[in-house]
Symmetry: C2
Subunit: 89 residues, 2 copies
């Protein structure tokens, strides 16, 4: 190609389109990464308080309990996740 | 710049480096996206079975219950998430 056509191609070149598939990303960046699968058990008769919130956002500093970190995660990402509430009655 | 220098720049140009921060991705792609925050409540006296698994991977077809979809998610992403088990005793 001529010199001018190379220049034109260079300048017209589009920015790469980056497709980020949220579905193929891990959702847990940090919690107990040495475990193959993080499963927690709650024995209901051992719950102390009438209401206990359990984390489903994988961002809590007190995992498996919810510490409110889902609020920051939702704000940063546009997500809508929240805890599971266990109620004694 | 001369014609040859434009060509050299063009050819040497590196592929863009794409940094995907998992931390700033939503973790819930599909569940109840019309709700600002997905919170579920379990009244413990209403649990029927001795063991009930609740989803924390946001991939279950029976959310808020776990249907085993975390296995596929973990395999596809290298993640290590799993359910919260509620045990009547
Ligand atoms: S901190 Fe994770 S759901 Fe609240
Ligand atoms: S299906 Fe989500 S934790 Fe099992």
């Amino acid at each position: 190609p001529s010199c001018s056509s190379i220049g034109a191609d260079f300048n017209r070149r589009q920015k790469p389109i980056v497709v980020v598939k949220a579905e193929v990303q891990p959702i847990n960046p940090e919690i107990r990464k040495t475990e193959a699968k993080v499963v927690d058990s709650v024995v209901l008769t051992e719950l102390a308080k009438p209401l206990t919130a359990y984390c489903r956002c994988w961002r809590s500093g007190t995992f498996p309990l919810c510490d409110g970190s889902h609020v920051k995660h939702n704000k940063a990402t546009g997500d809508n996740v929240g805890p599971l509430l266990l109620k004694k009655e």
